[in-house]
């Protein structure tokens, strides 16, 4: 049975949202750029473990995340460093530092793997949060597909912005020509070390929030119940609670 049918939802879910979520669940199950399908689905499972993880809860209250030692509530598939990174992204993202990423890279969790896991974690979390916000049960995770990751790193990626290498503003060329036209922003560039991670979050973001074209509009939107000011009120309040400066 296809995922995200919302047959038992008491609320009408826009078809664009269900299509985006179904598309993402299919992509999640397939081998990615650096992780296999089973590892990608296991990362999604860790997103769900993270929100119930006693170690994460204890660390969140500590002055430093390194002050509390222990084991995460995690599954059997992934290395402990991958599990830790997923849990940090979900429960304590504002205290992630360059040193955390460099230490992981020096111990086997490469920058490319880190970027892909961030991409998976944040999209799964955003979809789960949508369901939770509506009081709906979380969707069962997809069955992973067999195959090997592509191990593709865009040649034009470079360091200099943020903690990880990114495609520069003038680097949306070749295989990456679809990522943006004319202008971009750091948040669009953030996960470009794994271009598919950007494509995947943008496909979901276009429906949950606005498309790139929609972002230049400031009134009402066809097929949407919120106008731009209402959208930005919700966006701003969630961001503020999360202490998001960006």
């Amino acid at each position: 049975m296809p995922h995200y049918q919302y047959d038992n939802s008491p609320y009408p879910i826009r078809s664009g949202l269900t299509a985006a979520y179904q598309g993402y669940w299919s992509a999640l199950a397939r081998p990615g750029s650096w992780f296999s399908g089973s590892e990608r689905v296991a990362i999604a499972a860790e997103v769900r473990n993270a929100v119930n993880c006693p170690l994460c809860a204890e660390r969140k209250e500590a002055l430093s995340p390194y002050a509390v030692k222990g084991e995460h509530l995690g599954g059997p598939v992934l290395d402990a460093r991958v599990i830790d990174a997923v849990h940090r992204v979900i429960t304590d993202q504002s205290r992630i530092t360059q040193a955390f990423i460099d230490d992981n890279a020096a111990n086997g969790l490469s920058e490319e793997h880190y970027v892909e896991l961030v991409g998976i974690a944040v999209v799964v979390f955003s979809i789960d949060e949508f369901n939770r916000a509506l009081g709906l049960p979380l969707e069962p995770l997809p069955e992973p597909e067999a195959g090997e990751p592509e191990c593709y790193r865009p040649a034009q990626a470079e360091r200099g912005t943020g903690f990880v290498a990114m495609i520069p503003a003038d680097g949306a060329t070749g295989r990456e020509a679809d990522l943006w036209k004319d202008r971009t922003a750091n948040v669009l560039r953030a996960l470009t070390l794994v271009p598919n991670a950007v494509r995947e979050w943008m496909a979901v973001g276009n429906e949950q929030y606005l498309s790139m074209k929609g972002m230049t509009q400031f009134g009402s939107f066809e097929g949407r119940a919120l106008n731009r000011m209402q959208i930005e009120l919700v966006a701003g309040r969630v961001s503020s609670y999360n202490e998001c400066f960006y």
Partner: protein, 143 residues
Amino acid sequence: MLSLSADITESDVNLQMINGDESATGGDVDHAAALMKFAEAVASRDEAALAGARKELLDEAGAEVLVDAAAVAGNFQRMVRIADATGIPLDESSAAVSYGVVNELDLRRFSSARNTPPGGLKRKLMSLIARPMAKRMFKKMAK
């Protein structure tokens, strides 16, 4: 973006809605108090508060508004994590446009502000022209 949206549509908005209390919700944003409570309840993961906020928004604004608000909230639960997990700074043009809002809402108190240097006098001067330029540009693009 709330501030810019209000500017462009010439609407009355109190920016303290972003991190203040319900007293800031007068003005031109329909269902502002219910949307504010719902957004905060999602982000705080307080399930009891969320159940109440969900019912209030549903009763006051309807199911379509509730679904769209849940989608936007989910989206921004993602975006903050992309920004913080990769340590990106605010783009220079955005930093200039949002200079006044950053000060008004005291956003530099957030730990993730460390990824964006304060910018100094140059950014302050840029902010004087950046905001009117952005407003003009978005108005032109909207046509």
